[in-house]
C-alpha cells in the first residue's frame, strides 16, 4: 500500500518540478518567471486538480452514481453563472466587496445546484435521470452565461471569455495565498468526517443502521463539495472531466474503496491530470488549445471505457 502511494507521488512531483523550470519559452530558471508565473500555475494544478477529484469522489458516493461529477451534474456551471452575474452586477462596487462577493456568489451558485439536485433526488428520480437533469442545468447555465457575455462591455468581455474557457494560469502571485488557504480549508473537514463518509459507500440506509446521522451528513457533504467546486471555478474557471475520472482511476490503481486510502489517491490523480494537461499545453505553445479541450480528449474515452467495463451493472 505504501509503495503504491509512493509510486503515485513520483509523477506528480516530477511534473510539478518540470513545470517550474520549463515554460513555453523553453527551459529557464529565471526567478521572476518562476515565482510570478509558474509557481501559481503549478499550485493551481496541484490543488484545483486535487479538489476537483475529491469533490467528484464525494459526489459519486453521495449520489450513489459513478458518473456524478462537478461538471456533469451542473455544479461548476451553476457556480460559473453566479460568478458571471456578479462580474456584471458588482462592476461599480469597491474592490473589497467585489472580491468577496465573487467568492460568496461562486459558493452560492454551486450549493443552489446541489439543493436543486437534492430536490429531484427526494422525488426518487433514477440515476440516469439525475445525470440528464444535471446536464440540462449545465446547458441552462451556459446559455445564461452567453447572454451575459453578449451584454458585457469590451474590457469585461475579455476577462470573462478568458476565465470562462477554464485555465490553471489565471491565478496571480497575489491571489495565490488566498487560493491555498481556501483549498486547504475545504479539504480539512473531509478528514474529520471520514468515518460517516465510509459508511455511505454501502448506502444511506446502511449508514443509518450503524448510527450515522444521515440528514446532517447529507448537508455536510453538499457544503464541503460545493465549497471545493466553487473555489476551483472561481480561480480557474469551469474545468471538466478531472472530477469524474480521477476517483475511478484512483480506485482502479489502488484496488481499494475505503476512503481512508482512496481520498488521498484521488487527490493525487486529480493533481496529476491537471499537471499533465498543463504540460501538454506548455509543449505545444504554437497551438492555443484550451485546458478543457485536452481534458475532453483524455477524459471522454476513459468514461466510455469505464462504462464498457461495468456493462454488467445497471446505472
Amino acid at each position: 500500500m505504501k509503495l503504491k502511494y509512493s509510486i503515485l507521488f513520483v509523477p506528480v512531483l516530477a511534473l510539478a518540478l518540470a513545470l517550474l523550470f520549463i515554460g513555453e519559452s523553453g527551459l529557464s530558471n529565471d526567478a521572476v518567471l518562476v515565482n510570478e508565473l509558474r509557481l501559481p500555475k503549478v499550485m493551481a494544478c496541484l490543488f484545483a486538480g486535487g479538489l476537483l477529484a475529491v469533490s467528484g469522489l464525494l459526489m459519486q458516493i453521495f449520489f450513489q452514481n459513478p458518473l456524478a461529477g462537478p461538471d456533469i451534474l451542473g455544479i461548476s456551471s451553476g457556480s460559473s453563472l453566479f460568478v458571471a452575474l456578479w462580474m456584471m452586477a458588482g462592476a461599480g462596487l469597491s474592490p473589497f466587496v467585489q472580491e468577496w462577493g465573487m467568492n460568496a456568489m461562486s459558493f452560492f451558485g454551486a450549493i443552489s445546484v446541489f439543493l436543486l439536485l437534492l430536490f429531484f433526488l427526494k422525488r426518487n428520480v433514477s440515476r440516469v435521470s439525475l445525470i440528464i437533469i444535471g446536464l440540462l442545468i449545465s446547458s441552462f447555465a451556459s446559455s445564461g452565461i452567453s447572454v451575459l457575455v453578449s451584454m458585457s462591455q469590451a474590457l469585461q468581455l475579455k476577462n470573462f471569455l478568458v476565465w470562462s474557457m477554464g485555465s490553471f494560469r489565471n491565478i496571480t502571485q497575489a491571489e495565490l495565498p488566498r487560493f491555498l488557504v481556501f483549498s486547504i480549508l475545504s479539504i480539512f473537514p473531509v478528514w474529520f468526517f471520514l468515518k460517516p463518509l465510509n459508511q455511505f459507500l454501502l448506502s444511506e440506509n446502511y449508514a443509518k443502521s450503524v448510527g450515522v446521522n444521515v440528514k446532517k451528513m447529507r448537508m455536510v457533504f453538499v457544503t464541503i463539495a460545493a465549497f471545493q467546486i466553487s473555489i476551483v471555478t472561481l480561480y480557474c474557471g469551469p474545468i471538466g472531466f478531472i472530477g469524474i475520472i480521477s476517483p475511478h482511476l484512483a480506485r482502479l490503481y489502488l484496488r481499494r474503496a475505503q476512503l481512508t486510502h482512496l481520498l488521498p489517491a484521488a487527490f493525487l490523480v486529480g493533481s496529476f491530470l491537471a499537471l499533465l494537461t498543463e504540460m501538454i499545453l506548455v509543449m505545444t505553445p504554437t497551438l492555443s488549445i484550451s485546458v478543457n479541450a485536452i481534458l475532453g480528449l483524455i477524459g471522454a474515452p476513459i468514461i466510455v471505457l469505464y462504462l464498457y467495463r461495468q456493462r454488467s451493472l445497471s446505472l
Binding site: Q199, S203, Y206, V210, G211, R251
Partner: protein, 243 residues
C-alpha cells in the same frame, strides 16, 4: 425469557399509513418469520423497527426503552439489519465491509482496535466465510454476499438481527444453508432473528413464531402450528380453490 422488543399499537408508512395497529413482541433467542403478501408493508415494518424509518404512531420499545428517545449509536448496538438493496461497490474487501459494522463502537476516525479486528474475524468464522475475508465483496456469489452482510450486522454485536427477504435471490441449497445459519445464531448466540420471506416451506420447521400481516389489515402472530391450523396462512397465501 427476556423481551427484546415490543410493538404497541404501531402504525407504519411513508407519507400515508400503510399498516396500522401492530402489537407484538420479540423474546430473546426467538426465530421469527414475518409473512405477508407483496406490497403489504413488510419492509416498511422491518425498517421502522430498526429505526431507519419513523414510527407513524404508537410506540416501539427496545428493552422497555422507547425507540424514539434512543441515541442512534445505542440503537445500532442493539439491532443489526440486512436490507434488500443490491450493493454495487468495487474493491471493498469482505473484511472491510464487515468491519463497517463496528462503527457504533469505534472512535471519531473509525479506526479498528485490536479487539475490533479480532471480533470481526470471529464474526466471519461464525458465519462461515473466514477464508474469503480478503476477497472483494463484488466478486462473491449471492449466497456469500448475503453471509457477508449478515456478518456486517453481527459485527454490531446486536441482540436482534433483522433481515429483509434474505433468501430471495439464492438457489435452494443456499436458502437452506442460510436458514440453518440463522437458526444456529438464535440457539448458540441467543440472538433474536426476525426475517421476512416468501419461502414458507423452507422456514416452517425452523421458525419459532410467525408474524402475519394479513391482507384484511389484521396483524396476527403465533407458532407456525397455530397459524396453520387457524387457517390464516392459507387465507393469505393460497387462492380459494387451490390446496
Amino acid at each position: 425469557m427476556k423481551t427484546i422488543l415490543q410493538l404497541k399499537n404501531v402504525s407504519i408508512g411513508f407519507n400515508q399509513i400503510l399498516y396500522a395497529n401492530i402489537n407484538a413482541e420479540l423474546k430473546e433467542g426467538a426465530f421469527v418469520c414475518l409473512l405477508g403478501i407483496n406490497g403489504i408493508g413488510k419492509s416498511c415494518l422491518l425498517k421502522t423497527m430498526a429505526g431507519l424509518q419513523e414510527v407513524k404512531s404508537g410506540e416501539v420499545y427496545i428493552e422497555h426503552k422507547a425507540l424514539k428517545s434512543m441515541d442512534s449509536f445505542d440503537l445500532a448496538k442493539k439491532i443489526g439489519i440486512v436490507l434488500t438493496e443490491k450493493l454495487q461497490i468495487d474493491y471493498l474487501t469482505v473484511f472491510e465491509l464487515v468491519s463497517f459494522g463496528r462503527a457504533p463502537y469505534t472512535g471519531r476516525r473509525g479506526d479498528l482496535s485490536k479487539d475490533d479486528k479480532k471480533l470481526v474475524q470471529k464474526v466471519l468464522e461464525d458465519v462461515g466465510i473466514s477464508e474469503i475475508g480478503k476477497k472483494y465483496f463484488s466478486e462473491l456469489s449471492d449466497g456469500q454476499k448475503q453471509k457477508a452482510l449478515i456478518a456486517r450486522a453481527l459485527a454490531q454485536t446486536p441482540e436482534l438481527l433483522i433481515l429483509d427477504e434474505p433468501t430471495t435471490y439464492l438457489d435452494i441449497p443456499s436458502k437452506i444453508e442460510l436458514i440453518a445459519l440463522l437458526k444456529k445464531l438464535t440457539q448458540e448466540k441467543k440472538i433474536t432473528v426476525l426475517l421476512s420471506t416468501h419461502d414458507l416451506d423452507l422456514i416452517k420447521d425452523s421458525a419459532d413464531e410467525f408474524w402475519l400481516m394479513g391482507k384484511d389489515g389484521e396483524f396476527s402472530s403465533g407458532s407456525p402450528e397455530e397459524m396453520n391450523s387457524s387457517g390464516l396462512i392459507a387465507n393469505n397465501f393460497f387462492r380459494s380453490g387451490s390446496k
